[in-house]
């Protein structure tokens, strides 16, 4: 709510910013409306995170099935290397290869966003008690039934934590994606930095920061709801 209000009301804050920065003749970023930027930003994060969730969770499941288990150490090694890549580096390499605009940003976000989700899925499935699995099998549940009704629900809190990390990183990286020509909430920041307009920078940074915090809170709430069966006291 506060986020939307800020996005809508930013133009109204013109007097405030001109008071803070009297030397600027255009104290409010006007190339695009903040609401448009916010929506574009959210669209980019969703556009990359939704496929990343599908791929990451899918791969995590595959790597814990009997036929895929052998590949797990290898993939974990690859993921560990991948995580030493800063997200901005993935973006920077993707742009000259794929071209500028939204596409390289989406691909970079998707690739990088995969890693925490995959890790979360693997870690989450590892928390499923072996006894629950054996009991489910012994009671006559099908393999698919065990996956959907036992393993995934039990792993869900940890998987969600992975998705949360991924989405928060992607919100930040999407802001930087304005350097490769995608319109996001990072645009005012980048324009402001290159044009020495600190007001633009603050406007963009406020919205990006707020978006991240709002998303994080939403995940927090979802996590609490998902983990209700564990009782109080979830880890930091």
């Amino acid at each position: 709510m506060a986020l939307l209000a800020l996005a809508l009301g930013m133009p109204r804050l013109g007097p405030l910013f001109s008071a803070l920065y009297p030397e600027l003749d255009r104290p409010i970023y006007q190339q695009d409306s903040f609401v448009d930027l916010l929506l574009a930003h959210i669209a980019m994060v969703l556009g990359s995170s939704v496929p990343a969730v599908a791929l990451g969770v899918g791969a995590g499941i595959a790597l814990t099935r009997p036929w895929g288990r052998e590949f797990r150490p290898l993939v974990e090694t690859a993921v560990a290397i991948g995580q030493t890549f800063p997200p901005v580096a993935v973006l920077a390499v993707a742009a000259p290869l794929i071209g500028f605009g939204v596409r390289p940003a989406l691909i970079a976000l998707l690739l990088y966003g995969l890693l925490p989700i995959l890790q979360g899925t693997l870690a989450g499935l590892a928390t499923v008690p072996a006894a629950s699995r054996e009991a489910a099998q012994g009671l006559g549940m099908s393999t698919r039934g065990i996956l959907w009704r036992i393993e995934l629900p039990l792993a869900a809190p940890v998987i969600l934590a992975g998705i949360r990390t991924s989405v928060i990183i992607n919100i930040g990286t999407a802001a930087i994606a304005s350097t490769v020509g995608a319109k996001t909430l990072g645009s005012p920041i980048i324009v402001g930095l290159s044009g020495f307009n600190s007001a633009y920078v603050i406007q963009g940074a406020l919205l990006v920061g707020l978006l991240a915090i709002v998303a994080d809170q939403a995940f927090e709430r979802a996590a609490r709801r998902l983990g209700h069966w564990r009782g109080a006291g979830t880890a930091v």
């Binding site: 803070l20 009997p66 036929w67 052998e70 590949f71 150490p73 290898l74 090694t77 690859a78 560990a80 290397i81 995580q83 030493t84 890549f85 800063p86 997200p87 901005v88 580096a89 920077a92 390499v93 742009a95 000259p96 290869l97 500028f100 928060i168 919100i171 930040g172 990286t173 802001a175 930087i176 350097t179 490769v180 990072g186 920041i189 980048i190 402001g192 930095l193 600190s198 920078v201 603050i202 963009g204 940074a205 406020l206 990006v208 920061g209 991240a212 915090i213 994080d216 930091v236």
Partner: protein, 387 residues
């Protein structure tokens, strides 16, 4: 499904081999452009054929059937060596072709193509796969990796690859590069040292006082949530104001842009993993051990210094490793607020759409992160209690 040791062949190696073949088929190994600003096109295989060197086909011949052999130590060792040799061979080939092209057209640029990068990754994964099986202990594995990849470093240092585009770019901007390296390391140290100096005591305090812990983690979690570019941006205004009002701060280098906001923001980010690792490290010290120490008459201070901290050390060290890797990456974003470092080269390349320049910024950042990660992992593995 029979377990790995009983299987007659190695499906992982098979997959890696198939991926190698597919990437060689689908992508160019090397690309060539008439000058540094134009996009390159693939160099046809016929142009590469004169570099058809034993260092290339010998390991290739070894790797191709390796998956079908019964997994055992000799096969793993040979496969790891072959993978390393293949990568060295590819680098050598690339260097030789680049030198040849350079002799023909001086302004032409020979660059690594997509297949080279994927081959490099796949060779590394192949070797890692085999070394993991050969050396279950982490510390000996690290040394094996070092030995395996050392020849590659020698090849790079020998100058045989100097005509490749990235290295040409490096030669042209050596001073910029060296400055960026120095600056990046400076940012890293200026971030880590104060963050550790405050983070460790904070962690200790939080461990002893649960009420403080909750509040502290709530704040640090929020900071960690704010994207780096936003935090950099938000620090500009207050720091600029500070610099205006107290000129001695400005003289000390504090200002809205530059290193100061970068280091402050990065240190704030670094606090969470450092504090968390200290708390986690102390928490995993078995209560029985502390009780036994107290029972033997050690003072609380002695218990902390001789029992708790040493036992917490592996986790604390892992925290530093994670923080260092994270900081190296985030520091490259700090270039946007004028902090310099490899990020500056990266963004300059991005602005000019020059991939080689981008790579000149990206490769050392990744290399720095990998080296730090490996170094700290090695220290951690030395601390492992051997059964």
């Amino acid at each position: 499904m029979p377990p790995f040791s009983q299987r007659k062949h190695d499906r992982v190696l098979l997959a890696l081999t198939l991926l190698m073949l597919a990437s060689l088929y689908a992508w160019p190994l090397l690309t060539w452009a008439p000058n540094r600003l134009l996009t390159g096109h693939a160099l046809p295989w016929s142009r590469l054929a004169n570099g058809w060197h034993p260092l290339l086909w010998l390991p290739g011949m070894l790797l191709l059937p390796a998956w079908a052999l019964r997994p055992r130590r000799l096969v793993w060792l040979a496969t790891a060596l072959a993978a390393a040799a293949l990568l060295a061979g590819l680098c050598g080939l690339a260097g030789a072709v680049a030198a040849e092209e350079a002799a023909r057209t001086p302004f032409g640029r020979t660059s690594f193509g997509a297949a080279f990068w994927s081959m490099a990754l796949l060779c590394w994964l192949t070797a890692a796969h085999c070394l993991t099986r050969l050396f279950p202990r982490h510390s000996s594995r690290s040394i094996a990796h070092l030995l395996l990849w050392a020849p590659l470093g020698l090849l790079l240092a020998s100058g045989r690859m100097d005509e490749l585009s990235v290295l040409k770019e490096y030669a042209n901007r050596q001073d910029v590069f060296d400055d960026a390296l120095w600056r990046h390391v400076q940012i890293l140290l200026a971030t880590l040292l104060p963050a550790i100096a405050t983070g460790w005591p904070l962690g200790l305090l939080a461990f002893r006082r649960p009420a403080l812990r909750q509040a502290l983690f709530a704040v640090l979690n929020i900071i960690q949530t704010i994207p780096s570019i936003a935090l950099f941006g938000l620090l500009i205004a207050p720091l600029a104001w500070l610099a205006q009002t107290s000129p001695w701060l400005a003289r000390a280098g504090v200002g809205g842009i530059g290193m100061a906001p970068a280091v402050i923001a990065l240190a704030l980010y670094a606090l969470l993993p450092i504090v968390r690792s200290m708390v986690a490290g102390l928490e995993q010290v078995p209560a029985a051990v502390v009780e036994a120490a107290a029972g033997m008459g050690l003072s609380q201070r002695q218990i902390l210094l001789r029992v708790e901290l040493p036992l917490a050390l592996p986790v604390v060290l892992a925290g530093i490793r994670i923080t260092a890797v994270q900081t190296v990456g985030m520091a490259s974003v700090a270039a946007l607020i004028g902090a310099g470092g490899f990020g500056a080269i990266m963004f300059q390349g991005l602005a000019g759409s020059a991939l080689d320049l981008v790579l000149l910024g990206v490769i050392p950042v990744v290399a720095l992160a990998v080296v730090l990660d490996a170094l700290f992992s090695f220290f951690e593995s030395l601390l492992e209690i051997r059964p």
